[in-house]
């Protein structure tokens, strides 16, 4: 058949030479290649990540497990406006709104708050649209945590008990807070090159 592109290479089936038929030169070539790999561990960096002891670093723009942020005084930011649930393409978010009672000013920032707030991690596609939609900067996808595997389906429905950020500021995820200058620079160069 005529080649249309003129790039097809014509292959000739040549009879094997004596060296090829004796196998030995090719075998020694192969052996030398595997031996180079044998000593690679000493010369080059190992590729293997020894998982439980070390983990692969996450990308700074990784979108992982959600968190409901608190403000500087430790009050919940979420006002249960429902914009995140509307924005969610996977319909993973549900919530019930409630009115703040007297004396709860130190718990909730606004007069309206989420009595319950649930994200189904099996539905969630981790697109981050809820984070973009949130006017109160309450919901974030953490860059350093993943939704862990579980045995039962209902364990994947995360309620407020697992979503709301703990009060102690040490446990805040990196993403809700300001990025460090180095992280911001890294992110910027990555986005520019992309």
């Amino acid at each position: 058949m005529e080649s249309l592109s003129n790039r097809a290479k014509k292959l000739e089936k040549k009879p094997m030479t004596l060296a090829e038929r004796a196998y030995l030169p090719a075998i020694f070539q192969g052996l030398s290649i595997t031996m180079q790999h044998f000593f690679r561990a000493a010369t080059k960096k190992q590729i293997t990540v020894r998982y439980p002891e070390e983990t692969r670093p996450f990308s700074p723009v990784f979108r992982g497990l959600h968190v409901l942020k608190r403000d500087e005084q430790g009050r919940e930011r979420c006002t249960a406006c429902g914009l995140c649930a509307v924005a969610c393409p996977a319909e993973a978010i549900t919530m019930v709104a409630g009115e703040r009672k007297k004396g709860e000013q130190n718990l909730y920032r606004e007069e309206k708050y989420a009595v319950s707030y649930e994200i189904n991690m099996l539905r969630c596609i981790f697109c981050g649209l809820c984070e973009e939609a949130c006017p109160k900067a309450a919901v974030y996808l953490q860059a350093d945590k993943m939704a862990p595997p579980r045995y039962e389906r209902d364990e994947f429905i995360y309620g407020k008990d697992r979503l709301v950020e703990p009060v102690s500021p040490d446990n805040r995820s990196k993403r809700g807070i300001q990025l460090t200058p180095e992280q911001a620079d890294k992110l910027r160069t990555q986005m520019q090159s992309a």
Binding site: G30, M35, F38, R50
Partner: protein
Amino acid sequence: MSLESLGWQGLVILVVFGISLLIATYCTYAERVIAAFLQDRVGPDRAGPFGIVQPLADAVKLFTKEEFFPSGANKALFIFGPCLAMITALMSSAVIPFGNFLKFGETVVHLQGIEINVGMLYVFGIVSLGVYGIMIGGWASNNKFSLLGAIRAASQNISYELAMGLALIAVLMMSGSLSLRDITLQQSVPGEWHFWNVVKQPLGFIIFIVCAFAETNRTPFDLPECETELVGGYHTEYSSMKMGLYLFAEYVNVFVASAVMSVIYFGGFNFPFQYELRSWLSSSQGLSIDAAQNIIAILGVVAVFAKIFAFIFFFMWVRWTLPRFRYDQLMRLGWTILIPLAIFNILLTGGLITTGIIPEIKQWW
């Protein structure tokens, strides 16, 4: 032989048995580590430091697995198969000289299980019995894949035994003895340059090592247990420690094949400058002749095991480098290339001996 030296000899036999088992055990670990390194991986490193108790974990796993008998299997033969494979594998290490002799006063201990004047014939007799273990196990499983694997093993071993035996005949023509001890001692005549048989028999050695790969059923000739075509070959139906015995027997066979190669072609327990070292020890270090000889003998044991480990490493290195041969390629290589080459090697050796280029052997010991 006095009763005392008989007792010593019994101890040597026990030690040889233990060492064969230990080496086979650690071959399973070494195989995995070497495979990992050749493939840029890490290998087993969880059980103990660097994973060195991994063989123990494997053994515990194999012992606790379900003991499975396929329906329609011949139960007696099904059990007998792996036993036979293991027994024959272990028997052949008995005649291999792992060292010269130790002398304590009047007692002389030969570092060899038993010294018989047909040692090489014994090894080959036992090794060829090994295929019965595979054959019986494969047949008794009542499974067509097992049977195919067993048939492959049988025909492959018979084909390659021929070339192996012919390659050895050339060595026998030079040595004039079937005793492995004699062959070892001939490779280092005192006062002459230290020549191993591999220098005199390079072609024979290449034929022998190729056949050794086929005899031990290892890649590139592991067609009897070829996973891609035959599920697991002759041990498809085996589980638990019966399977473990088959795998273990393979490693014992590798050990024995390495030992035979290092004895016949690589000088066994000889190492360069041993006589110079002995005379230096006895003259300028003031040791008695016996003490100097004992030191040399112990260094010889170290030397033979270094050679054996080098060969075991080579077996594993080749396994993780080369792909498997096709069955017709295997048969063609055996019958139309190796056997004619071996016969040519015999003719060549005969010619060199009659023309006197290879000198007469000296029975110097």
